[in-house]
């Protein structure tokens, strides 16, 4: 008698605990959007870092760049692959937006998906958006 109650109880418990998985099995989830490469970024073979490194670490890279520019007055970044970049989000051809033209397709699509809202554009401006 007791044994049955315990087994049923266990089954119910397992079902409840794993409910997020069941929920995901019956609903469809949106796939993570791929950052869209346009214009010059599409032609360029390589970015500042390897693709996967960039995906995981671009925020620390930007942080490092900011300190370098503001504090050490170093504004040029020679990447491991030999390319020279301007350590800037939006000024000049060699900056991030110089290559990745469309900020909404390159930055925002992923940030929105990941539900992060970095406040870069509260101060920095996208030269293509100023008309």
């Amino acid at each position: 008698m007791n044994k049955n109650v315990i087994v049923i109880g266990l089954i119910v418990f397992v079902l409840l605990v794993l409910s997020p998985f069941w929920f995901n099995m019956i609903t469809t989830t949106e796939a993570a959007p791929e950052p869209e490469l346009l214009g010059r970024a599409k032609k360029a073979e390589q970015c500042v870092l390897e693709k996967y490194d960039m995906r995981a670490n671009h925020m620390s890279l930007l942080d490092e760049w900011r300190d370098s520019v503001v504090r050490d007055t170093n504004r040029l970044y020679t990447a491991a692959n030999g390319h020279v970049f301007e350590m800037s989000l939006s000024t000049g051809e060699q900056s991030c937006l110089g290559c990745h033209e469309d900020e909404s397709k390159f930055c925002d699509s992923c940030h929105t998906y990941a539900s992060t809202s970095p406040y870069c554009w509260e101060c920095h401006t996208n030269p293509k958006e100023i008309k």
Partner: protein, 273 residues
């Protein structure tokens, strides 16, 4: 069943713990060794100095040149002008302007406000009417740098007192510390009041302090600051630590004053009178 003493169990557990800790450490060491050969550097044409300074020739500068200078600086650095009517479509419901909250990097000041310690009952008449151009003095002993709790304001190796706006928490200690009123606080989002945004320089956001940066972004490209360029030769800038620089030669040959020297802040902006 295998007999296990507490002692042997602890030994095995200890070794396992070391193993678990060691693998991330080894991975980290390995990832570092194949290393990034990335290099950071300056542009060749970048201007370098041990301590940047400016000398304003008050005898030659005129109100027209002053206006020109202020306009050049403020438009290039996206300084909001609260007399500008915001675009209704882009920025609906902009609340009314409080003109006491104005933002300025370089502006005109009367002699008795610019040099309160040098006031004189019988001051030469012309000084009462001369508008003096004042800005951040990029002091050698900058009180704002000492006051900043986050090191958002700091002194660069070349003497420029500059801000990292990312780090500014808007406490305004620096504004209280600065004896020259060179700093402005963004009480509101400046963007609606910028007539034409220059994409070469970021705007600021609500809640940060801002001030003159001696055009650090231009020095990095080998260009003189906007004020110097727009001054038609009435502002000379150069390395104060180099005895052969233009500014030092000028200061050797002319009498120059600085604002509130008695405070010991050692301003780097000189006024040739």
């Amino acid at each position: 069943m295998m007999e296990k003493s507490r002692r042997s169990f602890l030994k095995v557990a200890g070794i396992a713990a070391i193993g678990l800790g060691a693998s991330p450490a080894l991975n980290f060491a390995a990832s570092d060794s194949h290393g990034l050969a990335a290099l950071k550097g300056k542009k060749e044409e970048a201007l370098k100095a041990h301590r940047w300074g400016m000398a304003i020739n008050t005898g030659e500068i005129s109100p027209e040149i002053n206006t020109q200078i202020i306009e050049a600086c403020h438009s290039a650095h996206n300084i909001p002008d609260f007399n500008h009517e915001p675009d209704e479509e882009k920025y609906p419901d902009t609340r009314p302007v409080n003109h006491k909250q104005e933002i300025k990097w370089i502006w005109e000041e009367k002699y008795n406000y610019a040099f309160p310690d040098k006031e004189d009952e019988f001051l030469a008449e012309k000084f009462h009417h001369l508008p003096f151009l004042v800005t951040c003095n990029h002091c050698k002993n900058a009180p704002c740098v000492q006051a900043c709790p986050t090191q958002a304001t700091f002194k660069r190796k070349d003497g420029i007192v500059i801000m990292d706006y990312h780090r500014c928490i808007g406490c305004r200690f620096c504004m209280a510390a600065c004896p020259y009123g060179s700093r402005s606080f963004n009480f509101r989002d400046p963007r609606p009041f910028i007539a034409e945004t220059d994409s070469a320089f970021p705007t600021r956001s609500k809640g940060v302090v801002e001030k003159c940066n001696l055009c650090a972004e231009r020095l990095a490209k080998g260009e003189a600051p906007h004020c110097v360029e727009a001054s038609e030769g009435t502002i000379i800038f150069g390395d104060l630590e180099d005895p052969d620089s233009d500014i030092r030669i000028l200061l050797r040959e002319n009498f120059a004053i600085r604002r509130n020297e008695a405070l010991g802040t050692e301003p780097s902006v000189y006024y040739i009178v």
